[in-house]
Amino acid sequence: MNYATSYPPGEQGVSRSGRRRNIFPAGKLAISLLLFILALGVSFPFVWMIRTSFMLPTDALKFPPLWVPPTFTLQNYRNALTIQPFARYLLNSVFISTVVVFAQLLTASMGAYAFARLKFPGREPLFLLYLATMMIPFQVTLIPLFVMVAKVGWVDTYAAVIVPAIASAYLTFLLRQFFMSIPRELEDAARIDGASYFRIYATIILPLSKPALASCGLLSFMGSWTNFLWPLIVIRTRELRPVPLGLAALQQEQGYTDFPQLMAGSVMALLPIMIVFVFLQRYFVQGIALTGLKG
């Protein structure tokens, strides 16, 4: 399905909506109020996290809780950054996620182009095979992948986190669906002018797919940034940990749970991905349309 026609929160659906026009101001107000209260509830964990991260442990662990912190402190952030090399964790995550995103987009878009646009013997069965593996949970390949990584001697390297993430049948599938929706005429003209397949891929298909590529890139960035189980298995040295692993270590290596400090760590872990989200939310939403509407 072409996502351009089904972009969810776009305003294009508004004018033809008869139901919305019929709402009385009072009903509208009630709905706004209800949404506002629900929104407060949903964002509460974030508010609570940020509040606690700036509080002295003695204040944070008072019961009944103090709504307004009596003293404002950066101590938890300082602790988190010194007890664990948290800045290093952030750099690791940025590096790993960036490489994974570009590697995935490159291989997925090239494969998707072949599946969507080129005829070759074995195309249909191969594509079905890709689809079939999408149903297999990641846990199935976990042990063989670990054994392979160990055999190559990659345990405890960036390569161990990055390389196994490159294969993505899922992104290949999504991009293929998108490429199929690009009109063929554009290509035919270029073909008559003698453009090679690579030229068509690089100068026609890719530029036309920027929004889809951005959406897929974000999906892949998120997946990589939040991945926990795999790094947990292949990373041992603290200097190589990505953020989620480092955050878990912040608790486990301490021996006790220091909530304000953990909240400071959580804020630092969430901030980059939140910033990415707020700036690129349009593509997140498009990504949902891309993934959600194939059924």
Binding site: Q139, T141, I273
Partner: protein, 309 residues
Amino acid sequence: MAPLAMSDGQPRSRSFFRMNQSRREALAAYAFLAPNFLAFLVLVLGPTVFSFVVGFTTWNGLGMPKWSGLQNYVRLVKDPLFVKAVRNTAIYAIEFVPLAVICALGLALLFNYKTIGISFARLLFFLPFVTDMISISFVWMFIFHLRFGILNYFLSLVDLPPQAWLGDTKWAMFSIVILSVWRWMGYYALIILASLQGVPQELYEAAKIDGAGRWKSFIKITVPLISPALFFVVTTGIISSFQVFEQMYIMTSGGPQDSTISIAMFLYQQGFLFLRMGYASAVAWVLFFIIFIVTMINWNVRGRWVYEG
């Protein structure tokens, strides 16, 4: 066939020129597919086959795997901890999926109204979905805390006794479900909303003329027309439920009394703490089998409730 000049005016070998169009296209396709297929072969397909074979062996990850036939699977069925893990995971799925879908449907219906700040509200509800599990698991651990948790404070306001949410076999799994519903409902809501906005308004007008009330037109028009989106949400919800891991790993370590140990967590323990690679591979295949069966059932009852216009 006229030999077309290929890209960039580069000289090509004669045999390449002679190649017919479809051969050339196929070769180009294989070249494009090569990196992708190589990664797929080495990182997905190969490991999948390997895992299936290892499931029939006894292996600590070093040395040579010893063939043991169906022994791992037989042992699994008799392993009380595994049975418990399957039960826990099923409970998680049974609580999570309906709750998340109902909340998401409600939200989507609200999102469909044009009111002040609606796009900001949508953004806010979507925010939990872009978090990493570890951070928010810590946040919710603090909220659920027996002594300092804000949840118990809210309970005390209405004179309810405090609960040891994550430390009580009665509540631990449900607490994890709450966290998961919070994280996923905004995402599911946007998927349902996309479908909701595709429902033609004329249908509602027509229903109104026929004297149908709001509830009736919701059941008779809205639900059938958005059922493909609901189906998608239910399916992905089930699949993700059966793989649940991080929440338990951080918040409860599977406790109390193994009441929150999930299949994925059992697999992690067997494979990477006890180095029973054969046994853990068998677990992975049982997990796949369960997901497969549930998805098939879901797919087959699809015809009964999913409207495909």
